[in-house]
Symmetry: C2
Subunit: 303 residues, 2 copies
């Protein structure tokens, strides 16, 4: 690796950047709400300058590598998906360069999984986080969970991203707590990892989610659920339904990669169901982007 790297995780609603030294160490980090939907008139070059222009000025030869929705149709440049199973080299080979007259910037491709007939799945950004966590997986393999608005479950074997599945758990939770008949029952507050959350996880195991959701209301109406517990119970229900589908029934080791608050919910739910959890570095995306920059350098900065 020859020079400094600016690693950017540019999603729909957030912008995260790391200034990395030549060894990949995080020299500085930065985060904003400047996701791609906030970029005016599609001027991503100006947006990137506004976010990290000082870093670029200080290191004009820095290699900028970006992952996430910045590579989608709504982003700077639509970079075609790489099909699963995908090796790190295949993902690196899919990198595409953007011309912006300000040094060198590349965008990471997303992944496409077409292994289930009629149910293709896609991701943009999480593949780079998993790449950054490969070294922490035993023999480069395991089941990786990235909780979020759209949770991703990635099956990795010998360093190859084999397959994955997306769950809209976070988004459905936000809709239900914000706009549904259940909202009216809820007191203010955050989700707690308490007996009501775990009760929701247990009830969520039974399938028939559209029915079980209503139990948040009927239990509250009949005095079987305190009003200040509805939010945690609902969160448990949804995560429980996700886990019933995403994790095998037999005790399984799950590698969790995500922000601490959300990861804590998944860890508690997985433990309740008898699974074991290993937490991965939440900054894995910086490691993944640095590794991809290394591939670029090794290839003479061609993908």
């Amino acid at each position: 690796m020859s020079g400094p790297v600016i690693a950017v995780d540019w999603g729909t609603s957030s912008f995260r950047a790391y200034r990395l030294d030549a060894q990949g160490g995080i020299a500085e980090r930065r985060e904003s709400a400047g996701g791609i939907l906030r970029v005016r008139g599609g001027d991503f070059a100006a947006a990137l300058q506004a976010e990290v222009g000082d870093w670029l000025a200080a290191a004009p030869d820095a290699l900028v590598v970006m992952s996430g929705m910045i590579g989608s149709r709504q982003g700077w440049r639509e970079v075609p998906y790489v099909a699963c199973p995908a090796e790190p080299e295949e993902i690196a080979a899919g990198l595409e360069r953007v011309d912006w007259g300000e040094g060198e910037a590349w965008i990471v491709p997303g992944l496409l999984d077409e292994s289930r007939p009629g149910q293709p799945d896609v991701m943009r950004g999480e593949e780079t986080q998993v790449l950054g966590a490969l070294a922490a997986l035993p023999n480069g393999g395991g089941l990786v969970c990235l909780p979020g608005t759209h949770s991703k479950w990635v099956r990795v074997e010998s360093g190859v991203l084999q397959s994955f599945a997306t769950y809209m758990t976070g988004e459905v939770f936000d809709l239900l707590q914000g706009h549904s008949i259940l909202s009216r029952l809820m007191t203010k507050g955050a989700v707690a990892v308490d007996r009501w959350f775990l009760e929701g996880v247990a009830v969520g195991q039974g399938g028939g989610l559209l029915n079980r959701l209503f139990s948040a209301r009927s239990r509250a109406l009949t005095g079987n659920l305190p009003e200040d517990a509805v939010r945690s119970y609902l969160s448990g229900l949804l995560i429980g339904d996700e886990l019933a589908s995403a994790v095998p029934a037999a005790p399984t080791e799950v590698h969790l990669l995500g922000a601490p608050t959300l990861a804590a919910l998944y860890e508690a739910a997985l433990a309740k169901l008898g699974h074991s959890v290993v937490r991965l570095d939440a900054d894995a995306v910086a490691v993944g982007l640095h590794g991809l920059a290394g591939h670029l350098d090794a290839a003479g900065r061609a993908p």
Copy 2:
């Protein structure tokens, strides 16, 4: 039955009334958006006057019988639930009178099903629709589906409402089509009973709803679902998930009670899965309310 009855189905967001003759025939009907949430300052007496004051003036001795959320905590008077299994006589015995100085008005109790531990279920209004449909059920029994914002599935045996389950299918569909990442993919239009709807029903059979929902997006992104079909596919997915849980796998006769447009979706989905469908009269609530009025009269207008 001695006199005229005004039958009122008063829900959260709608008001439906029938002026019935002494034999229970529908002489006139009326419908408005004046659900209980629209009633200012909780003045339900004034609201009822505004809706059917002319009927009352023409027949001051009419018996007003009301079902639905009007009997909830947010309604005119909270009428305690009757527990399942519930016979028509038990429901009639739970009727409560409201005093409003304008003749006689009664509210029907809701039903409570506590047969599944930790998953109590409640309804207000649908029990009266089922009562009105009992005569149409073979030997007074069968599986009755009332599709809606919150679909209800009621198991009836020998004229007794044995048990039931609620599915939040309609509400979740509205949230997803109105406020989710899927909304952006959708073109305008209504749900159609077409191959995409039926494809959604099939995919919805597989469980893991939070994952399958995302297929509406990933299929559209990968060209496996036309944009103008996302809405129908999503509707099929949700109804498919509901049916996978609500109906036994073996071919089953389902009695459908609901508005024609929504009932048509359920009928197509049930047929696709090999079940048979019998449509019940969508005005069954008027029959049910007339029957309860008969119980009141037989009991000397005591419940």
